[in-house]
């Protein structure tokens, strides 16, 4: 058993070695005429402006968090799936094991429903935050949320199609 795991490690080590051996062979064969222009970041011919090491959207944080929860749950569900058949074969405990699993999945689905309702699964975020209130002397700004924008878009589409129908008539 341990030998088998050792083999997995050996294979991984071979993978590492394979990369570096190939690079060494290539370093003997390949030309070396590096120019500064050639080593610049590729942006389709444009000169690069600024670094790409920027802070990325916070949504990735939520996505990662949701994933971690689900991944852990799957890790717990795997052993349950493994023993379910043998539990069903022995008398009595099959139904008990099934109910436990169903409860577990129900809690999981509840979590999914919560995240869903909260809107964390929306990739295109609606910017329906609190009203932006710049100060007393200016009017507060109401940013339209995604639903309102879509409704407006649909209304304009209908208007367009009506207009074209009228033209056709």
């Amino acid at each position: 058993m341990y030998f088998d795991y050792l083999n997995v490690l050996v294979f991984a080590a071979v993978g590492l070695a394979f990369v570096f051996v190939n690079l060494i062979i290539a370093s003997v064969l390949r030309p070396k005429r590096k120019s500064k222009v050639g080593l610049e970041t590729y942006e389709c011919g444009e000169e690069t402006i600024g670094d790409s090491w920027i802070q990325f959207d916070i949504r990735y944080y939520t996505v990662a968090l949701v994933y971690v929860i689900f991944a852990v749950e799957i890790a717990f569900l795997f052993p349950w799936a493994l023993v379910l058949k043998s539990a069903a074969a022995s008398d009595g405990i099959g139904v008990f094991v099934l109910i436990e699993g169903v409860l577990f999945i129900a809690i999981l689905l509840l979590g999914l429903a919560y995240v869903w309702c909260k809107g964390d699964l929306e990739w295109v975020l609606s910017y329906s935050g609190p009203e932006y209130n710049p100060g007393d002397d200016r009017d507060p700004v109401k940013l339209p949320n995604i639903k309102e924008l879509e409704a407006a878009l649909e209304a304009s589409d209908e208007h367009d199609s009506e207009a074209s129908e009228e033209e056709a008539a």
Partner: protein, 382 residues
């Protein structure tokens, strides 16, 4: 001489390493010193490991171009060898001769490490794939778990490559990869629960044994009379592996037409080819996992016929041919889909993963578990 005592105690008797060693012991001439044997065994094992990944990647790239060509009413590579079958070797030589470019702005250690990490983890996962019932490198009881763990490690390499390149294309590619792979890991894992439930094992060899009989076809787990939730589970599994291996329609991390090559934009020459090797190896490995857990593994009419002759070697060869044929059939299906479906948007990818596949996969597991507990024990054919 067999393996050194401490290793022999650890090695499984039927493992490939031991078999190679036994074979070498049998054919060893007297003038060869004893210590050369374990060394040769190790070298041959390593050779097989490298051969698996190279052959899969080379045949994969050739097949990809031929299939793409014929689907688009052209021939694909035709010049190098018969129908261009030597093209991958010509490409390999070309890539070896390419200049080594490391962008000035890149984070050099991470940039150098990324392809190595990607290849190491996929090759580690490949060790779990048994080539034949009696020829394998790692007979692990946690087989599918190990494969899932190691294949998701490649994501770290991809994100590392994208971040360290310090290019906007690469950054977007890496971030898409992170979001997408993370989203589809969930339905992938959950849909595999269904066959695990029916097989009662994580071990690929045992799962394959569980589907023996029925002329090598009738006991495959995919059939509705085994468990009607297996078909939907396989569909979910297949969609998830398309996303996991960054294949069209989920090839957003690469997305040639919008992100140039995504996380690989700054990679060139032989360094770049490692990512491609990983992609084809991962595709093949997931297809093989799919055939083990849904389509009978080593079981096919061919294997049944070979088993009837009772010749050990013939059974092994038939089983190996079966599993490799099934793996390549899966590869072909993935290539076919690439030229059938247009690329989806990232928000559609996420919506499909979280809002459709995950609840559907959980529903499949619930249905399958009820079937296994209440119906499977009373069905006459189970």
């Amino acid at each position: 001489m067999s393996l050194p005592l401490h290793l022999a105690a650890l090695a499984a008797p039927r493992s490939a390493t031991n078999q190679i060693n036994d074979f070498l012991t049998g054919v060893k001439p007297d003038f060869v010193p004893d210590w050369a044997l374990p060394l040769t065994t190790a070298l041959i094992s390593v050779g097989i490991a490298v051969a698996i990944i190279s052959l899969v990647a080379m045949s994969g790239t050739w097949l990809e171009r031929k299939v793409s060509g014929h689907i688009q009413c052209r021939y694909g590579p035709m010049r190098v060898g018969w129908h261009g079958w030597l093209q991958p070797i010509a490409d390999g030589v070309k890539l070896l001769l390419k200049e080594d470019m490391i962008p000035l702005g890149a984070d050099k250690p991470l940039y150098l490490l990324a392809p190595a990490l990607v290849l190491a983890s996929i090759l580690g996962a490949m060790a779990v794939f048994p080539l034949a019932p009696d020829f394998y490198f790692a007979d692990i009881d946690l087989g599918i778990f190990t494969i899932l763990a190691l294949t998701s490690t490649t994501t770290i390499g991809v994100v590392m490559a994208g971040w360290s390149s310090n290019s906007k294309w690469s950054l977007y590619g890496a971030m898409r990869e992170a979001a997408q792979v993370v989203a589809y890991e969930i339905p992938l894992g959950i849909s595999l629960l269904v066959p695990v439930m029916v097989a009662g094992s994580f071990n690929l060899l045992e799962v394959s044994n569980g589907q023996a009989g029925g002329f090598g076809v009738l006991n495959w787990y995919i059939w509705p009379w085994v468990n009607p939730f297996m078909g939907p589970a396989f569909l979910l599994f297949f969609i998830a592996i398309l996303a996991e291996t960054k294949r069209a329609p989920f090839d957003l991390p690469e997305a040639e037409s919008e992100l140039v090559a995504g996380f690989m934009t700054e990679y060139s020459g032989i360094r770049w080819s490692f990512f491609f090797m990983e992609e084809y190896a991962a595709m093949f490995l997931y297809c093989v996992v799919g055939s083990f857990f849904f389509f009978g593994g080593f079981e096919s009419p061919l294997t049944s016929l070979a088993r009837a002759t009772d010749v050990h070697l013939l059974v092994q060869v038939a089983a190996a041919v079966t599993i490799i044929a099934k793996g390549y059939a899966g590869l072909f299906l993935m290539m076919w889909l690439r030229w059938t479906l247009p690329r989806v948007r990232i928000d559609q990818v996420m919506t499909l993963g979280y809002k459709y596949l995950t609840p559907l996969a959980l529903a499949c597991v619930l249905g399958a578990s009820v079937w296994e507990v209440f119906l499977a024990p009373v069905l006459p054919w189970r």
